[in-house]
């Protein structure tokens, strides 16, 4: 461990056979992250991947870092403990729509609310893969699955809406196979101090194939993706002539065409990633009437819980006498028997 050697993707791969189904979106995400890790300037031994249960949660086995494949839904809590015990560690939390929003929804809520400094990656394939295809809390109404043969009837949850509602300070969305975009989003999320929540649309070719195809297909993507960039106008479309405006009367976002009805580029909303109200509107945009927002939707750093815990401890230690267990045992009323 002398001179720092520049690590590569290979250094982050394990010798384990990757066991996802052929064509699973998880492969692309794994590759992106293995490639990204050497660029982040974090010592390999300080990286920790914590996951729950599900296809996505097998992820740590394929990362040659410290890894903990825990139990269903509880990755946020285990990761919180890791971070409290050693704030120096760079902790990544891998979860899915079932793991993170169904069985683990409560923990997800609180890890975001507390703003624990974690990189949270939620692979959303809108289905339970590992248990063979049941509908999930993000499945669209009408999803046919072994447990909903006539189509699901309950309303799905929007992960980014949930994250914002829980008080997340960093919320982003990306797509499994878009390595460039995913890399950029993850890099920004990694720089964020506090919980960074990244929803990754992930294709499950076995149980829920092509649900994000409209966002991936080169022909349709330009019209269906609203790629957000902080400080840039929200323009999209093949011709780059569509944009998002705010209808003040209805307090709602609208799609407009530049050059029509007197609309110019100046009328288009500019993305401000610190604007929470805007973020809440953007995450809700849905096909077919709207493009889907991807990129960093909200980014407004605040003090993270673990940092506060440690500073409070330092403050107390500065004020109080140094730790002395014998003195503690003898505190309060004591008496001596001769």
């Amino acid at each position: 461990m002398n001179a720092p050697v520049k690590l590569t993707l290979k250094d982050y791969a394990t010798d384990q056979e990757v066991r996802w189904c052929p064509g699973c979106g998880d492969y692309a995400i794994l590759k992106t992250i293995q490639k990204l890790m050497p660029e982040l300037g974090v010592a390999k031994e300080n990286s920790v991947f914590v996951s729950g249960i599900g296809c996505s949660s097998r992820f740590p086995y394929y990362m040659n870092t410290f890894g903990f494949h825990t139990i269903h839904g509880r990755a946020p809590s285990v990761a919180t403990g890791v971070k409290l015990a050693n704030p120096e560690l760079d902790v990544w939390m891998i979860t899915g729509d079932g793991d993170g929003l169904s069985i683990g929804g409560n923990h997800m809520l609180h890890v975001l609310r507390r703003n624990i400094d974690l990189n949270i990656l939620l692979f959303n394939n809108e289905i339970y893969g590992l248990t063979k295809g049941q509908y999930s809390p993000t499945s669209k109404v009408g999803t046919k699955s072994p447990s909903t043969p006539d189509g699901s009837v309950d309303s799905p949850l929007n992960p980014c809406t949930f994250a914002l509602g829980a008080g997340a300070k960093f919320v982003a969305r990306s797509i499994d196979t878009d390595m460039k975009h995913l890399t950029a989003v993850l890099t920004e999320g990694h720089q964020h101090r506090g919980a960074s929540f990244v929803e990754i649309y992930q294709n499950c070719p076995v149980y829920n194939d092509e649900i994000f195809e409209h966002l991936k297909n080169k022909k349709t993507a330009p019209d269906t993706r609203l790629v957000l960039e902080n400080g840039a106008p929200m323009i999209f479309g093949k011709e780059k002539n569509k944009g998002i405006t705010l209808n003040v009367q209805r307090l709602a976002l609208e799609v407009v065409t530049i050059g029509e009805a007197g609309i110019t580029e100046a009328d288009i909303l500019v993305h401000d990633e610190t604007n929470k109200v805007m973020a809440q509107m953007l995450v809700e945009l849905q096909a077919p009437d709207f493009p889907t927002a991807i990129g960093v939707i909200y980014n407004a750093p605040a003090v993270a819980y673990v940092a506060d815990v440690y500073s409070q401890r330092i403050e107390v230690r500065e004020k109080q006498a140094p730790a002395d267990l014998n003195a503690l045992l003898r505190s309060g009323h004591t008496w001596t028997v001769e």
Partner: protein, 623 residues
């Protein structure tokens, strides 16, 4: 725990070797505080003592309701005291509900001190009295001091300008003052305590001090009924040294800190509020100068999982709860078994099932502790026998958890957690450290490398170069640590996990005998907080010439290596438990002995008399 070495027989009038006093009132009347103050004065006086705080689940039940009665019992004496006493000698009843719910425990001729002002028509009706018992002669079998305490208190504290509500609240201190007089206790510690507690509200502090003094003065000057005068309970002969009072909650908290120091690992204490376990979280949260971090999680599951995460990262994760919360943690505890990480789980047991009796004591989670996991998963279980013992038990639990890289369940209960006892203050330097060694050698490293003797898995913490590895709930290859679904490997790993836990039996003390001899007619085998009652019950039987021994088990799983052989030396084995018979079945299953259970689950500790009678009944059978 008794701290008595030798017994002093009193030789003066109105004296006894021990007295039981019970303070009873509305849950808002401050009876617990009164009891604690009296306990402290009694400890300073030099009596041996044991206490039993008994309070309702409702924080503030409607005034005057029988279900809202909060009581605090103390037994103190010049002999060794190990229980809070079977019967009450002096009952302080702050209202009719307190009287009616506690009178049946009072001995004939016992003393009642009642606040006559609280015996209003409304309160009497609420408690179910048709006539006022203070006036209708129904208490003739007892000695009664009926005083208008409320009015006296309001008059006493008038100069301090308190609102009527706050003035009335001082009545517990007035009563404390009178009780202090009755037993010749010093008021100094209580007065100091009030002045510290209300440092920022001197009016309240001084009003309470005035109330104590007024109550005391009343005892000195008022003409009390014949036979009511200062009781003499001589100090006990105790081992010389420094003492303090402690509840199980305090000594367990300090034991966790001590265990962390001896293991040389930081502690992450992650918990979720639940009665009667929350006190640990409160106590440890105030100890930030030590290497103890506390985390109040969003639920029980998150608490245990955060503790496991901390253990993975190189701290010792500790979580605590009571039965229902432990059920929620069960899945995660098995994860810690599978990943072979150290973890301490404290269960302060309460009456069950479900919400059950949250403020009442029971020891009904032994099965849950020993067997309550999915899969073939075993872990060590250790039980504290009284408030003081919690300190050593916590240290021992941490020693086992860190040495064997396993979750350990520590059983306490509501009685131990809240009861206060004198404690011969230990010196941490008298304990042998057991520092943890973290793995740091990359050469030949595998996450499933084991110590050949203990079978403990290596503990390699994140942040250590060359130690990168993955663990998880999936079965692992016994050699490489990679995930493995191989059937023979699963057999092997299951065997290793079992052998590791079973092997702990070689590393714990042999079972000793708390009282009596190694052979004989009857062995009374107990565990946990029944220690005091069994001890006294056995003692009484032995004083009657019976051949009875008391064996008290601390290591509930694995059981001490000699226990089976030891028990085979007695004709009869009696196992009193505050459950419907859990240890007794384990002993029967493990050792094929005809042990007999004795069960009590009414939320109250065993009375000495009950144990004594049960032993005698069993001995009859032997004859």
């Amino acid at each position: 725990m008794s701290v008595v070495e030798e017994i002093n027989q009193p030789d003066v009038a109105n004296a006894g070797s021990g007295v039981v006093v019970r303070f009873a009132g509305d849950s808002g009347d401050g009876m617990q505080l009164t009891g604690n103050n009296f306990t402290e004065a009694t400890a300073i006086y030099g009596n041996d003592l044991a206490t039993f705080p008994d309070f309702p689940a409702e924080i503030r039940a409607p005034a005057g309701a029988t279900f809202g009665v909060s009581a605090f019992q103390i037994y103190f004496g010049s002999e060794d005291v190990t229980t809070a006493g079977d019967d009450v000698d002096v009952l302080i009843a702050m209202n009719p509900a307190a009287l009616i719910t506690n009178l049946k425990e009072l001995v004939p001729g016992g003393l009642i001190i009642a606040d006559a002002d609280a015996f209003t028509a409304k309160n009497l009706a609420r408690a179910g009295y048709k006539d006022n018992p203070l006036e209708d002669g129904s208490l003739d079998a007892f000695r009664l001091i009926s005083i208008g305490i409320t009015k006296r208190v309001v008059d006493t504290v008038k100069p301090f300008g308190l609102s009527h509500k706050f003035a009335v609240r001082c009545k517990n201190m007035w009563t404390l003052g009178l009780t202090m007089w009755l037993f010749d206790r010093s008021r100094d510690a209580a007065i100091d305590g009030l002045r510290t507690k209300f440092a920022s509200k001197p009016d309240i502090a001084e009003a309470n001090v005035a109330a104590i003094n007024a109550g005391h003065a009343y005892g000195e000057t008022a003409e009390l009924p014949t036979g009511v005068e200062v009781y003499k309970v001589p100090a006990a002969s105790v081992k010389p040294g420094l003492y303090r009072n402690t509840t199980g909650t305090e000594s367990l908290s300090y034991g966790i800190i001590a265990g962390g120091q001896l293991a040389n690992v930081p502690i992450l204490f992650a918990s979720y509020p639940i009665t009667p376990a929350s006190g640990l979280l409160h106590t440890l949260s105030g100890q930030k100068q030590f290497d103890v971090m506390t985390f109040q999680a969003e639920d029980e599951i998150a608490a245990v999982c955060a503790a496991i995460g901390a253990s993975f990262a190189g701290s010792l994760g500790v979580t605590s709860s009571s039965g229902p919360g432990i059920s929620l943690k069960a899945e995660a505890i098995s994860l810690a078994c599978a990943t072979e990480l150290p973890l301490l789980i404290v269960n302060t047991q309460r009456g069950g099932p479900s919400t059950g009796l949250p403020t009442k004591t029971e020891q009904s989670d032994l099965y849950q502790s020993v067997f309550g996991r999915h899969g073939d998963t075993s872990l060590p279980v250790i039980a504290a026998k009284d408030s003081v013992d919690c300190f050593d038990v916590a240290i021992e639990a941490i020693r086992i958890a860190t040495k064997y890289r396993t979750p350990v369940i520590l059983l306490s209960d509501g009685y131990i957690a809240n009861a206060s006892e004198p404690w011969f203050v230990p010196d941490i330097n008298d304990y042998t450290p057991f520092p943890v060694e973290f793995e740091a050698e990359p050469e030949g490293f595998s996450p499933v490398n084991r110590d050949p003797e203990t079978l403990a898995r290596v503990w390699a913490k994140p942040g250590t170069p060359g130690m990168e590895h993955r663990i998880g709930g999936i079965e692992k290859d016994a050699v490489t640590g990679d995930i493995s679904y191989d059937s023979e490997n699963h057999q092997k790993m299951t065997d290793i996990r079992k052998a590791k836990i079973d092997g702990i039996a070689r590393d714990i003390p042999l079972q000793d005998i708390a009282m009596g001899s190694e052979k004989g007619a009857v062995a009374v085998v107990g565990w946990g907080s029944t220690y005091g009652s069994i001890h006294q019950g056995v003692k009484r039987c032995r004083q009657d010439g019976m051949e009875v021994s008391h064996i008290h088990i601390r290591h509930m799983w694995p059981l001490p290596a000699n226990l089976g052989e030891l028990l085979s030396g007695y004709e009869k084995v009696l196992v009193p438990e505050m459950n419907t018979g859990q240890l007794v079945k384990i002993l029967r299953a493990e050792y094929m002995i005809d042990a007999k259970g004795y069960s009590k689950v009414n939320g109250q500790p065993f009375k000495i008399r009950e144990i004594e009678n049960e032993i005698k009944a069993l001995a009859e059978v032997v004859k």
